[in-house]
């Protein structure tokens, strides 16, 4: 029996009228009228400048915007872009906008892009965040060029970030995915990225779309799938990252969209990551990382207090997730005074690995496991910020590198937890 398509009949009709394309650009929107204009303009300008001979379509998957976002996308005329760039395109640039529902779902939007790319036989598909206020026309080129001309299957971005922005990425997602799959993908949950027809062909009927992992964090699932299947990868530097509004509103949502899919993929790709050793560098166009100076505006004391009270209040929950030794160490750290606070790399890595193992065993409801990680992340974030307040960017990078090495060094610990489960220990 054929799998049911995510594409509505109306959308299929619109896509069929476009015919085959070389490039598809996906835009997932929901009430983005404030920011979408310049984004669409930059995309069009980039396409005309860099891909004048390619057949191109922009596909907007909208979650029921009520502020006229879809009208703005449809109305942003190609003539304006042509005027600004003083270039002529040799092909028609199609814009399709489709509403998939009334609730925001990154998974549905991504599934639509993948299926549409497959249906239109697009050689490359780029996904761009609708609130990338710093977007430049050459982003399209930077993302799609390696796919179309470099035989690369997935291009992920690198950004210039505030030194303490994305601590979940620098302290968990990046080092853990690097330890698991042996590739240094700096942005495992990219807001902008591009993939090839080979990868979309693999993803189109993937089981992730029916899982929470695929529904909440499709970007992470796509990255992991490409890593696990050994597809050629590349990274491209896009400059400053300022589209924070699209980021999850709270920490638990961020964990559900990033760590949840990572843990889920470890189980679904069981046997592919446990034997991988060492790290193979992913070719990068531009710098791998760039940080800006700046102080933290958040309340650091509150961060530590939420960690300490969280560890105390969640003791019965953590007892079912963590080993007694790790829980004891954690409770010791939580009771330390501010000046002696030390949430070491090794303890953090063990906590994360034991969470992954408990997630697989479903010792309690899986979403509860992800939620229970939030207070512990706060403790780690507090440690990371206080330890690196005044260090130079290179020294900060060295700290991240040291953490990555801890994740790699302790990988046998994760494998032992995993195999112990298989033996039923």
């Amino acid at each position: 029996m054929a799998d049911e398509s995510i594409l509505s009949d109306d959308l299929v009709r619109q896509l069929m009228s476009v015919g085959e394309v070389d490039i598809l650009v996906g835009l997932h929107t929901h009430d983005h009228a404030d920011t979408i204009g310049p984004v669409v303009q930059a995309i069009r300008e980039g396409l005309i400048n860099h891909f004048p001979r390619e057949r191109v379509a922009i596909l907007n998957a909208d979650a029921g915007s009520s502020d006229g976002t879809r009208d703005l996308i449809r109305a942003a005329g190609i003539d304006d872009a042509r005027y600004r760039s003083k270039l002529q395109t040799l092909r028609t640039l199609h814009v399709i906008s489709s509403q998939y529902g009334t609730t925001v779902s990154p998974g549905i939007a991504m599934h639509i892009f993948v299926e549409a790319a497959d249906l239109l036989r697009a050689r490359g598909c780029a996904v761009v965040s609708p609130d990338s206020s710093d977007i430049q026309p050459d982003w399209v080129d930077r993302l799609l060029q390696p796919v179309l001309r470099g035989n690369i299957d997935l291009v992920t971005p690198t950004y210039r970030r505030h030194r303490f922005e994305g601590i979940l990425v620098t302290n968990l997602m990046y080092p853990m995915m690097r330890a698991l799959y042996g590739r240094n993908v700096r942005e495992p949950r990219p807001a902008e990225f591009a993939f090839s027809d080979r990868l979309s062909g693999l993803l189109v009927n993937h089981p992730m779309w029916s899982q929470d992992a695929g529904r909440l964090g499709p970007e992470v699932c796509v990255t992991i799938e490409a890593l696990a299947e050994g597809f050629p990868l590349a990274q491209t530097y896009l400059g400053a990252r300022s589209h924070l509004e699209q980021q999850p509103g709270d920490l638990v949502a961020a964990l559900r969209q990033s760590v949840g899919p990572l843990f889920w993929a470890m189980e679904s790709l069981d046997g592919t990551w446990d034997k991988i050793q060492g790290v193979q560098a992913v070719p990068t166009n531009g710098p791998e990382y760039e940080v800006t100076e700046g102080t933290v505006k958040g309340d650091l004391t509150r961060l530590r207090q939420m960690f300490s009270s969280g560890v105390a209040d969640l003791a019965p929950v953590l007892k079912s997730i963590l080993s007694p030794a790790v829980l004891q160490q954690l409770q010791q750290v939580a009771s330390l005074p501010e000046e002696q606070f030390d949430f070491t790399d090794e303890l953090w890595v063990k906590v994360v690995y034991e969470f992954a193992s408990s997630y697989r065993r479903s010792v309690i409801n899986r979403d509860h496991i992800i939620q229970a990680l939030a207070p512990l992340y706060r403790g780690r974030a507090y440690h990371f910020i206080t330890q690196n307040q005044d260090v130079a960017p290179d020294a900060l990078e060295q700290r991240v590198e040291a953490l990555c090495e801890s994740f790699e060094r302790l990988k046998p610990y994760l494998v032992s937890l995993w195999t112990a489960q298989e033996r039923g220990v």
Partner: protein, 235 residues
């Protein structure tokens, strides 16, 4: 006179031996039924224990919090308790069925009542077990939500949710069994009403500012995207 006494005694003895001879096979039948019933109950219990082990029933109960509750009431583990219940109920059932076949007056009605009570008892047991499961899940969800929202006394909130669901499920079970139906119903209504009223008063009076902020956030026309926990995005 002496002959009369002897004659009466002989007659009484004869009647006794006749009655005993008449009863003996029935007693033997009851004994055999009890023995066979015991064997059947034992086999049922062994099969049930293996099945419960296979589905990791104890681990499930532990996660649901049922094991903890039973332990605090000095009761055996959930699987042991269930096995013991099945053993005694099945043995008693077979025994009563056997006794009813003896034709003792009033026994038939008693046995019928017992068998009618059994399904209700097991449904009530299931309701309590599901209640325990639900209470464990929702208590943990409330605890995690309260911790991550930085609410005061998250443990009390979690325990309150647990107790509320357990009380609800136990009162439902009692209602099914038909025990003190009205008393439990009234007690539950009073308890639940008092709790809700208490919470409403506490929220309205004790947390006026919090209530105002909450309502403003919830219904304000300027409600935008959810506020981030800190200025720095974790992703």
């Amino acid at each position: 006179m002496g002959d009369m006494i002897v004659s009466e005694l002989r007659q009484a003895w004869n009647e006794f031996t006749r009655a005993f001879a008449h009863l003996l096979p029935r007693l033997l039948t009851v004994l055999i039924i009890a023995l066979v019933g015991w064997l059947i109950a034992y086999v049922l219990t062994v099969a049930l224990r293996s099945f419960l082990r296979l589905i990791h029933f104890d681990r499930l109960s532990e996660r649901a919090g049922a094991a903890r509750l039973l332990n605090s009431a000095a009761l055996p583990s959930p699987s042991q308790l269930l096995c013991q219940l099945v053993f005694w109920f099945s043995w008693l059932g077979i025994l009563l069925a056997g006794i009813s076949s003896l034709g003792i007056a009033g026994m038939q009605q008693f046995v019928g009542g017992f068998f009618l009570f059994l399904p209700r008892f097991f449904v009530a047991l299931l309701v309590v077990f599901l209640g325990m499961l639900a209470s464990g899940f929702f208590a943990r969800a409330a605890l995690l939500g309260a911790v991550n929202a930085d609410l005061p006394s998250p443990q009390i909130l979690g325990e309150a949710v647990r107790i509320l669901i357990v009380v609800l499920s136990v009162s439902m079970a009692f209602e099914m069994l038909g025990f003190a139906q009205h008393t439990i119903e009234i007690a539950f209504t009073l308890l639940f009403g008092a709790l809700m009223l208490g919470l409403a008063i506490a929220f309205g009076l004790g947390g006026q500012d919090l209530a105002r902020q909450f309502l403003e956030r919830r219904f304000s026309a300027h409600r935008g995207r959810p506020k981030k926990e800190s200025e720095l995005s974790p992703l």
